[in-house]
């Protein structure tokens, strides 16, 4: 049999082959581990690789499926987890030296659900230290490299997750998103990233960054794959205080509906107009494709989004400081200087500023709510710029030099503040060959509709089928 090519293979395709026993989980896992072996020294997608354990699980899955006990579309599928999801008995570092010896004694709810669904965890993904940045640079475990252009950032904080999926080091990964950390690396690295509605997926057993902004969700090659993973991990969990009691759904079924007649909102406040030229072109073309699919478009106004950086920084830095205050006391010198500084600055912030940010957040939520009364979905770029060189301090945008560390989250933060579902789908490439992402935002718990439009767009385009030359 020819060697399995995990670069082009999707979860959905692999599942069909595994179910019909045309492809063995052992071959799939071996192929994924070969990619890790060949590429990861350069790309830095993994902190821990679970080679032997994954092969043992693959043999077990092969036997189960051979005996007629097929569990579903994730059975025997190699996946990875951002290294802040607890994995029982396996190192879980949160990407920081402060936790480089931490081995949890239980699985995160998401980890457990994926294992129950038969998925095989091949390793733990690299990330921006403690998930506090959008580039994927990491002083402890190496800077993640953009799979389309080495020397460029892959996007973060779920950097390793995006790199792994883009390059076939596993077929899907789970990330977390506090200001854009699933969607930014999805956009910069050319994969799909879905931040589900706040409360839809449990965060129990996931290193927290900000209780009111944190979300977890999948990174995959296609929207169909994201729907498969979401179906497995969504659901109420009493151990997560933000978990929502909503009916469980099959999100793959949600993909089947029509998109003709969907009303799409395009935010056209000045804030949204400041874009890299090639990003603007790619997103405008994507909107034209959607019009061609029968969607209609109209302008929507979201003026408070222009303050989303200040709102997000005030809330997340204060909450991060509160969460890690005792850890900073206990392990001060094991955090990088940048993370030490962020926690210390957060500790210095007056509580009145935190409350003011939460008030501004209420105004932003109201604007999104009103906009989504007029339209079914909002579409916009995921990031205002494509990936930039590693180590950049400033990046040019709209004729101005802006801080590179805050730029990636410019257009993703608002959906963390509203809690509304948001998806990033590849929608083009720059002349330099760097991916561009389109962001689709929906009403709370209408993740199925968000995924349906993203899936329909992928059926009409080929961007997600392009592979890197590595």
């Amino acid at each position: 049999m020819a060697r399995v090519d995990t670069v082009a293979l999707t979860v959905a395709e692999a599942a069909r082959l595994v179910r019909s026993r045309k492809l063995s989980p052992v071959e799939l896992v071996e192929a994924s581990l070969r990619r890790v072996e060949a590429l990861d020294r350069r790309l830095r997608a993994f902190i821990t690789v679970l080679g032997d354990q994954a092969m043992a699980e693959a043999r077990k899955a092969e036997a189960e499926i051979g005996a007629g006990n097929y569990k579903g579309p994730l059975h025997g599928i190699p996946i990875s987890l951002k290294d802040l999801f607890y994995t029982r008995g396996v190192l879980t570092t949160a990407g920081t030296g402060a936790f480089d010896d931490f081995v949890p004694n239980y699985d995160a709810t998401v980890t457990a659900k994926l294992k129950e669904a038969g998925a095989i965890v091949i390793g733990k993904n690299n990330l921006h230290e403690l998930a506090v940045g959008g580039t994927g640079e990491n002083p402890f475990f190496g800077n993640g490299q953009n799979p389309w252009k080495e020397g460029y950032v892959p996007g973060g904080s779920s950097s390793g997750s995006a790199i792994a999926v883009a390059t076939g080091m596993g077929l899907a990964s789970m990330g977390s998103d506090t200001g854009g950390s699933i969607r930014i690396p999805a956009s910069f690295s050319g994969v799909v990233g879905h931040k589900p509605t706040y409360g839809l997926v449990s965060r129990y057993g996931v290193f927290a960054l900000s209780w009111t902004l944190d979300h977890v969700g999948p990174l995959t090659k296609t929207v169909e794959d994201a729907a498969i993973v979401l179906t497995a991990v969504a659901g109420y969990d009493a151990r997560d205080s933000g978990s929502a009691q909503v009916r469980r759904r099959n999100y793959v079924r949600s993909l089947r509906g029509d998109v003709k007649g969907l009303r799409l909102g395009i935010p056209l406040d000045p804030f949204f107009e400041v874009l890299d030229k090639e990003v603007r072109q790619a997103v405008s073309q994507a909107v034209r494709v959607m019009r061609g699919m029968g969607c209609t478009t109209r302008r929507v106004s979201l003026p408070t989004a222009a303050y989303s950086q200040e709102i997000g920084l005030a809330i997340s830095w204060a909450e991060t400081a509160s969460i890690y205050e005792s850890e900073l006391r206990a392990r001060f010198h094991r955090f990088s200087r940048a993370v030490q500084d962020q926690i210390l600055v957060g500790l210095s912030m007056p509580s009145s500023v935190y409350v003011k940010a939460q008030m501004a957040r209420a105004v932003a939520q109201r604007e999104f709510h009103r906009a989504l009364e007029q339209v079914d979905l909002i579409v916009m770029p995921t990031t205002a710029v494509p990936a930039f060189p590693i180590g950049s301090k400033q990046v040019q945008l709209g004729g101005e030099s802006v801080e590179a560390r805050f730029l990636p989250a410019r257009l993703t933060r608002p959906s963390n503040q509203t809690g509304y579902p948001a998806l990033s789908v590849p929608c083009g490439f720059t002349r330099e060959g760097l991916p561009v992402g389109l962001q689709i935002i929906g009403r709370p718990f209408e993740d199925g509709l968000v995924l349906r439009l993203g899936h329909a767009y992928q059926q009409a385009t080929e961007w997600h089928k392009r592979n890197q030359q590595l």
Partner: protein
């Protein structure tokens, strides 16, 4: 602006959090604190009269 934030005041704040940092470390950090708080002053441009903070609302969806 930096003169309005004394090292002693910051050190006191950090001591409240159980962090006894040397003055030179706090001195180096002070400009970042000032820059951060100045950045957040932009929130004062918003009309937040009679607005209730949002931080509970996502939790109320359950």
């Amino acid at each position: 602006m930096a003169e309005s934030l004394s090292v002693e005041a910051l050190q006191y704040l950090f001591r409240q959090a159980g962090l006894d940092l040397p003055p030179e470390r706090v001195q180096e950090l002070a400009p970042s604190v000032v820059e951060f708080l100045d950045r957040l002053k932009r929130l004062d441009e918003l009309d937040l009269k009679d607005v209730a903070p949002a931080f509970i609302s996502p939790l109320m969806w359950k």
